[in-house]
Symmetry: C2
């Protein structure tokens, strides 16, 4: 099973944490639990390992039993969900049972909840009073983003940290309150820093071969890859005594990766292809038009969302005849790539802008299993860049892959020509 | 916390099951676990409750401990993942440890794995030999879709069922082998049937009011709602002694729901708006074109994927001037709805087809918090249907909502006019 190599670092930590997600809707898969992954990443950054994640329905006895077990095997137990105002929100009660304390009404929590409602002009419902109860001796964690107060119960050297299930509130409280608390209480000093280099144009296995020496187990930093459709992230994770030390460990490794992968790397960390293209389009004061035959608007959608005014418009062809309405003629192209070249120039002219991009999908009738041939082209100034790919697999994946490769061809063309 | 009302039925069951998902990549949130939800639904259909879901990394000791605990509290334990050929696939070993058996090499499993590779022209790697080991006395479950053989270990009245992590393989084995095994072994007779009615054009809370009497707790069938962006599913779940009995319980309730919601219901179960539209478009022998100003291709993408040849093409406008290239002029429209009406007729003419659909987004500068006004229109024969909505929230959600509402307007127009 493919395991991301960051875990090598996670496993070095000595302290152990676990997450308990509460809610029948999570158990039944009606809502996907994104909180655990967010918690895992934040805990890793302070050197805490996440070892288990348990999901339990809204049942007091079962949740209390799970919490008791969690406290036996982990120093830090974090719960998410089940602290709303209704009767099936039973996390408060379950933590009280598992830590053998009574629930206690807190006037100051009640005042906070009351203030939250007043500020928004809402009427406090009697059931919100439930939320002002926490296990005796709990450390209240004020929640400025919602009505559900979070709290921490310390049990000897261990603790149960109870957070809301709403992802935005959960992450805010985790970062603003819980991480500082954990650092302080457990004297956690290690820092993990992550640098992500984003690559288009080379498969994950080929990148793995090129970086094999950096990806060996036990190194610090670790280097790992994570494949998306059409894009691969190279993740460099370093553990240092502080953030600056971790950063210094990353620098030389990043330099090696960049030397080997060159301009296949389009950006780092939060960079997106759209962002990189948008910056260049704005600087040049140009606009981009796109025509798609087969990819049905996925390129246009990404450009529209990412380029703002730099996106002039797009045309989605339902059949080859659509090209004639743009003043083009796909009959002149012998291959999908040749057709994409005609289409890129046609849509640029039709829209009256500086840059035209195009995609053309065509089945290859001779191949078994079925293959789709995808032609991509970008017309800019005198330059007409193009590529051709052969894809198997399902159409939705093919479209996502095509959008990424088309945007990357656009990025390269703008970088080369301008 | 909002809980889907199906669970009322789930809780009536007497037998208890739990899922153990294996894989560090699941724990770290690099892959989202969809298997548990699929298992929950299939188990519910034979009257088995899912009470816990635990995720564990690729660690033998921790996984074995979790499995031991699971066997203490649940009759049926289902594992997914960790049975591949590599060294970090440790589920086989962990099940053996937890059930106190040795691993045993199976010649017949090895022959199956070998045959799978031969049939595909792949070379068997020595590590695949690992996959022919199962705990002594295990019932082998042949996996025709992959190389990872599944198996069942019976422990007195309980059992551990070990399935692959690949969702397609997992669900196939679950349905084809595991459910019949569970029915047979535990004499499970209850059947749950689910009927989903799909609604566009009314919010979840309003539907909840209209169906309040049907949604009370403790009824059989239960009625619940599940909101998507722009669409609400009304789910009717009945438990009967067999499938036919469950179906008979659903019928009168479905009739009541249909009487109250009328043509807001566009279909049931696996129906999609695209499918309903496609059937009508094919029967009428017409084609649809679309122009989008603001929604950036989301309507075109759904029509393209759903209508095949019935989708003639689409135009995505980057600015209002784009309309002139279609022979239209948005200046003539006083509102987004009026502009959408002009655009729907323009794109229909430009494409030379029978049906034109259009979307127009416009900010309302006077509103705080910001609101986007969305105009939708469909031109077909002499008919020109249109709607206007005011949306808050983020652009991606707005686009999804718009696509659903535009498709629904198209469906209604085709039904009314044709």
């Amino acid at each position: 099973m493919p395991v991301f190599t960051d875990q090598v670092i996670y496993n070095e930590a000595s302290m152990q944490a676990e997450v308990v997600s509460v809610g029948s809707e999570l158990l039944l898969g009606q809502i996907v639990d994104t909180n655990s992954a967010v918690i895992a990443r934040h805990l890793a950054a302070i050197g805490l390992d996440l070892y288990y994640k348990t999901t339990v329905g809204d049942n007091l006895a079962r949740l209390a039993a799970v919490l008791r077990l969690a406290l036996e095997r982990s120093q830090v137990v974090i719960t998410t969900g089940g602290i709303g105002p209704t009767a099936d929100d039973i996390t408060r009660e379950a933590v009280a049972v598992a830590t053998e304390r009574e629930l206690q009404f807190s006037e100051s929590l009640m005042a906070q909840i009351d203030a939250f409602f007043r500020a928004r002009g809402f009427k406090l419902s009697p059931s919100n009073r439930r939320q002002a109860f926490t296990p005796r001796g709990a450390i209240a964690v004020e929640n400025p983003l919602g009505t559900a107060p979070a709290f921490i119960v310390e049990v000897a050297e261990r603790c149960v940290i109870t957070l809301p299930g709403v992802p935005r509130e959960m992450e805010h409280l985790l970062v603003a309150r819980v991480l500082p608390y954990l650092r302080e209480r457990y004297g956690l000093k290690g820092e993990i820093r992550l640098r992500v280099l984003k690559v288009v144009g080379l498969g994950e296995s080929r990148i793995g071969e090129l970086l094999a020496d950096l990806m060996e187990k036990g190194l610090n930093p670790t280097v790992g890859t994570l494949a998306h459709l059409g894009q691969v992230d190279v993740r460099i994770a370093a553990k240092g005594t502080d953030a600056e030390a971790a950063r210094r460990l990353i620098e030389p490794v990043e330099a090696v990766v960049r030397a080997r992968l060159g301009d296949l790397i389009f950006g780092a960390d939060a960079d997106t292809l759209e962002g990189v293209i948008s910056a260049r389009v704005q600087r040049l004061g140009i606009r981009v038009a796109v025509a798609e035959f087969g990819s049905a608007g996925v390129v246009a959608e990404r450009l529209s969302a990412g380029l703002g005014q730099g996106f002039a418009g797009g045309v989605i062809l339902g059949d080859p005849a659509g090209a004639t309405r743009l003043g083009g003629d796909l009959e002149g192209g012998a291959s999908p790539e040749a057709k994409a070249r005609l289409l890129a120039e046609a849509v640029r002219g039709w829209q009256g802008v500086q840059v035209g991009a195009a995609t053309v999908f065509e089945g290859d009738p001779g191949s078994e299993p079925p293959v789709t041939v995808v032609g991509l082209a970008v017309a800019f100034h005198e330059s007409l860049e193009s590529r051709e790919y052969r894809f198997g697999g399902d159409l939705p994946s093919m479209k996502i892959r095509t959008a990424t490769l088309a945007l990357d061809l656009l990025r390269r063309t703008l970088e080369r020509v301008a």
